[in-house]
């Protein structure tokens, strides 16, 4: 996800055209990540409400996708496929059949899971009309990705600002109107099926040819590049200013979790304690992506936001390191 966004930003800045096969391989990797990410989330969401059968089965369905990623790229996660100008390696011809077979199995089993949980009364009792956030509030808090789509907002970078091979492949935006946790489950499961469709089409439509652009020209300094990618949790933006010696001069990434977290107070307000973990879990949070710390003094009510420098200084102070960084 992030490497695609970063590479695209640099490619935009330097006006590098990625060959078609490279773009298709990027889509295959992105969508395989989406499949495994959504299945991982489904398992964790099940676990949070005590439904460990869903956890175990969702992760069992997910595992062959991880093996496939490893076969194609060498890694289970963080595939390491992207280079500025294209991708590192080709998807070998010999693996196509296996890829299609695994996808068929994942599709069959995900559909079975969808059918099984759709009729579960207890599950619905825990998910329907819980963690509600209205479309208006979703827009006000600028929620992203599946969390926004479950509140009836049709936003998806793959359709709104297509990149890689999405212009050729097209993509259906999965929208649900329920605004609750149940809708978020449905959006993610339907997106998993759509991702399987995308990988299949990408394999079928992938043209022959190079996977890397001609990178012999140096990347000019001082150019600005901005790119967006639809990650499983929502949109990821990367901003780059190119610098001297083929290095970035400035780089800023924005992951979707920090934005999505803003909706949590609305989602859990007035709910039971038991609904707070699943309310938070329903937006698939990634706390390491948030890069912000606030402390509230309970006596004075004073709110303080800590910068990274302050946190580092605090850390060094606590560990007896006098020198500031």
């Amino acid at each position: 996800m992030h490497s695609t966004a970063y590479c695209q930003a640099v490619e935009k800045a330097a006006e590098i055209e990625v060959p078609a096969r490279g773009r298709f391989i990027r889509v295959i990797c992105l969508e395989l990540e989406r499949i495994q990410s959504h299945l991982l989330w489904l398992g964790i969401a099940g676990h949070i409400i005590g439904f460990d059968t869903v956890l175990m089965q969702a992760w069992r369905i997910r595992e062959p996708v991880m093996w496939l990623c490893e076969k194609i790229t060498g890694n289970r996660k963080l595939l390491g496929m992207n280079l500025v100008g294209g991708v590192r390696r080709d998807v070998p011809r010999g693996i196509h059949d296996e890829l299609l077979e695994v996808l068929a199995r994942v599709e069959k089993e995900s559909t079975a899971v969808l059918a099984a949980i759709a009729g579960d009364i207890t599950l619905k009792a825990r998910c329907e009309k819980v963690g509600v956030i209205s479309p208006e509030e979703s827009i006000a808090f600028a929620l992203l990705g599946p969390t926004a789509r479950a509140s009836g907002i049709s936003i998806d970078i793959r359709v709104d600002h297509p990149y890689a091979a999405y212009p050729e492949l097209g993509c259906e935006v999965m929208v649900e109107q329920g605004c609750d946790i149940w809708s978020r489950v449905l959006v993610r499961l339907r997106e998993t099926l759509e991702a399987i469709r995308l990988v299949r089409d990408a394999l079928r439509m992938m043209p022959d040819g190079p996977i890397m652009a001609d990178m012999r020209q140096p990347i000019p300094p001082g150019r600005i590049g901005l790119s967006s990618v639809e990650a499983p949790r929502g949109e990821t933006h990367h901003f780059v200013i190119t610098g001297e010696e083929q290095r970035p001069y400035r780089w800023k990434a924005r992951a979707p979790t920090f934005q999505n977290l803003q909706g949590i107070p609305v989602m859990v307000a007035g709910e039971y304690i038991a609904d707070v973990p699943i309310g938070l879990g329903s937006m698939d949070p990634c706390f390491s992506c948030t890069e912000r710390l606030e402390t509230i003094d309970v006596r004075s009510g004073e709110v303080r936001t800590w910068s990274r420098e302050e946190l580092q200084a605090l850390y060094r102070l606590r560990h007896g390191l006098k020198e500031p960084l």
Binding site: G46, H47, I48, I49, G50, F51, D52, T53, V54, L55, M56, Q57, R60, D120, T122, L123, A125, R126, Y272, I273, A274, D275, V276, P277
Partner: protein, 300 residues
């Protein structure tokens, strides 16, 4: 045989077999999860490990230390009052009402463990335990009273003998089904695993318990599971009664294992309900049961 000796044997039976039943349950859950699962004797190893640990006292209240002992003691006392395939060893000492009191005492010890620990999670767990106690206990009580009305006695032995001699009626079926749901809750199985809820409140009342105290609480939970299975089988499914008694005991243990497997299936196909949903559910059960009790009173 000396009834005191028999009582002692029955306590040992509960203490020693309860972890095995837990092991069977874990294996079944693992099977549905597509996991290999822990070995059958894992609960024994868990208990041994915890019993061998140093005792940490993290809260000053004396009852925090003794709640586990008292809880297990209460459950073991019920072991001499209930029938496991044969007549209760100390039948003269107590009937279904004493049984209910003792079960409640064990639940109260869980509440005390919660309120005496200085943890907000334990406090929430304790309040949930109280709510469950107030709604699940009446369900068990009314189910057993319906049976007592039919049998004309509150003694387990006579209820068992009556049920063995008669075909099921509407009121006994209602009592049996509602009691089954109540024991799923008493065994802290999903969808009623609300008191412990490890993903929400981190084992609730037991969050501060560790080492030998936790081992006793775990043993209490296993024993409670075993005892409720025994009560359910003896009171509602006593047939066929076979001779000699030892064979009947083995048959009862087999039936209890089957019952626990059914509870295990309910456990794996359900997420956890919220406390308010569970309370509403059990109140609805109470209404159904009162209808069943009325049927029993008019002789149906």
């Amino acid at each position: 045989m000396n009834s005191y000796l028999l009582a002692f044997v029955q306590i040992l039976l509960v203490l020693l077999l309860a972890p095995l039943f837990e092991g069977v349950m874990r294996k079944l859950v693992a099977l549905v999860h597509s996991r290999i699962g822990p070995p059958l004797h894992q609960p024994y190893l868990d208990l041994l490990k915890l019993l061998g640990k140093e005792e940490l006292v993290t809260a000053p209240h004396p009852l925090f230390r003794y709640s586990a002992v008292l809880g297990l003691a209460a459950i073991l006392t019920t072991a001499v009052l209930i029938p496991i395939g044969m007549l209760p060893p100390l039948e003269s000492a107590g009937d279904i009402l004493v049984f209910i009191y003792l079960i409640t005492l064990a639940a109260v010890m869980v509440v005390i463990s919660g309120v005496t620990s200085d943890s907000p999670y334990a406090a929430i767990g304790a309040s949930r335990e109280v709510m469950m106690l107030l709604t699940v206990e009446p369900v068990i009580l009314i189910a057993l009273i319906s049976m007592a009305v039919k049998a004309g006695s509150t003694r387990f032995g006579e209820i068992m003998a009556w049920q063995a001699a008669h075909a099921p009626t509407f009121s006994t079926l209602i009592a049996g089904l509602t009691l089954f749901i109540a024991i799923v809750a008493q065994m802290a199985r999903l969808p009623f695993d609300i008191v412990e809820a490890d993903q929400e409140i981190m084992e609730g009342p037991f969050v501060e318990q560790s080492g030998p105290k936790l081992a006793l609480f775990k043993w209490m939970i296993y024993a409670k599971q075993f005892i409720f299975a025994a009560v359910f089988i003896s009171v509602f499914i006593p047939w066929p009664v076979v001779q000699p008694a030892i064979l009947n005991l083995l048959l009862t243990l087999l039936k209890m294992a089957v019952l626990l497997l059914i509870v295990g299936v309910v456990h794996v196909v359900n997420p956890r309900l919220r406390i308010d949903q569970a309370v509403r559910f059990f109140l609805a059960l109470v209404v159904i049961e009162i209808a069943g009790l009325a049927l029993a009173l008019v002789g149906s």
